[in-house]
């Protein structure tokens, strides 16, 4: 039918080889999970989810420290999660024997929340630390887990746990 069809076949063969090379290269270069959920690498989701945690979560703390939970339940700090003050404790939770949480400086720590600031909600308890305690550590008078000072003589340094 066609005269001298051979050179067309050769050209088609070259193009087919080029297409094949492209497809193979593409298959090798594009990560396996690309397009699994959308136009991105699906395996990235699991990689990000594998990041280690630093904060154990208050329910983990409450599993062991039941005495503190009982004390906290009696006072206003019942809503404050453990790690808000004590910091990240996932390593302590994994290995309570060798990793012990640092002692806290209440004169710094309490002021973070309770130092007076006009932008804080009006019903939130606030003090000016300099005039309220004059630099004396808060836990001299207040028990941090149950901060309200009992009127019935149980106040003062000897009352803290």
């Amino acid at each position: 039918m066609f005269k001298d069809i051979e050179h067309l076949v050769r050209l088609a063969a070259v193009m087919a080889v080029a297409l094949l090379a492209f497809l193979i290269l593409r298959a090798v270069i594009i990560p396996r999970s690309f397009g699994q959920y959308g136009h991105y690498r699906g395996a990235a989701i699991a990689e990000i989810a594998a990041h280690p945690i630093a904060f154990a979560g208050h329910s983990t703390c409450e599993g062991c420290h039941t005495d503190v939970v009982a004390l906290k339940n009696q006072g206003k700090h019942v809503v404050v999660p453990c790690e808000a003050c004590h910091g990240a404790q996932a390593r302590h939770a994994d290995d309570p024997g060798s990793v012990t949480p640092a002692k806290l400086d209440t004169s710094v720590l309490c002021a973070r929340c309770h130092e007076a600031n006009s932008a804080k909600p009006k019903d939130f308890p606030q003090v000016e630390a300099s005039s309220h305690s004059g630099g004396v550590a808060c836990d001299t008078c207040h028990q941090p887990h149950k901060p309200k000072i009992e009127e019935t003589g149980a106040s003062g340094p000897e009352a803290k746990k």
Partner: protein
């Protein structure tokens, strides 16, 4: 049938396409967590925020955020009398050390915690030229740092200023909604440490989540609703001056 050279040339490309699907393998199996069963959001109750900076510190520690960069931060607003359109906003070091006492007297003062809004129709993912950032099937906007070129398009595209380039890796970085925690059944680091409950993680696909009753009974807003980003960080009690 006898396979001629021509048949082979036709078959090979088809075989290459088929091989690609063989290589793709089976999806990652995660036994306890199903992507399609969640749709994550956050609730921020502005009247409860005391600006203590616990969330900013916890975020930095949990996610190894480089110093001077913030995945979440707190802004203090000062609105003088009627100047609703010109609030004074400050965020010293993202509020990581809390806030010094106000100089201004009078007017209205309050704190606004900010973070990635995990938009359902996020502008940042739409501009990525390489598919390095995306919305997951459970509604979290993430960055694949092995794929990110560091071209900064997404940093400019985010209307909320939530992205930055990590100076160590030179890739885009942002709040992951503590994806490594929420997929394990924990709450985010910022919500975990918030002493007043001003920040709460919410799963909109969970019918038992308290977010549903909260949204029904409160006047809740999102930031920049006119941009139609589908933002999923809901603010309760937000003043009209908040940008």
């Amino acid at each position: 049938m006898e396979i001629t050279r021509r048949h082979l040339l036709l078959l090979l490309p088809a075989a290459a396409v088929g091989w690609k699907y063989v290589l793709a393998g089976t999806p990652e199996a995660s036994p306890n967590y199903r992507l399609t069963e969640h749709w994550w959001a956050m609730l921020i109750d502005i009247p409860k925020c005391i600006g203590c900076g616990s969330c900013v510190r916890a975020c930095a520690q949990e996610n190894d955020v480089p110093e001077g960069y913030y995945r979440t931060w707190i802004e203090r607003y000062h609105v003088a009398d009627w100047k609703v359109e010109r609030p004074d906003v400050e965020s010293p070091e993202g509020g990581i050390h809390g806030f010094p006492a106000n100089e201004e007297s009078g007017g209205k003062n309050f704190f606004v915690p900010k973070l990635c809004n995990h938009c359902a129709d996020s502008p940042c993912t739409q501009v990525c030229p390489v598919g390095a950032t995306f919305v997951t099937p459970d509604g979290v906007v993430l960055v694949d740092k092995t794929y990110c070129l560091g071209c900064r398009y997404c940093v400019q595209a985010c209307p909320y200023g939530c992205r930055f380039i990590n100076p160590k890796t030179n890739t885009a970085e942002k709040c992951t909604l503590c994806y490594h925690r929420i997929t394990k059944g924990l709450t985010t680091a910022c919500c975990e440490v918030c002493p007043t409950g001003a920040r709460q993680l919410a799963d909109l696909k969970n019918p038992d989540d308290p977010i549903h009753s909260f949204l029904k009974t409160h006047s809740v807003q999102v930031l920049k609703p006119h941009m139609a980003t589908g933002a999923k960080v809901f603010y309760n009690g937000m003043d009209g001056s908040v940008r």
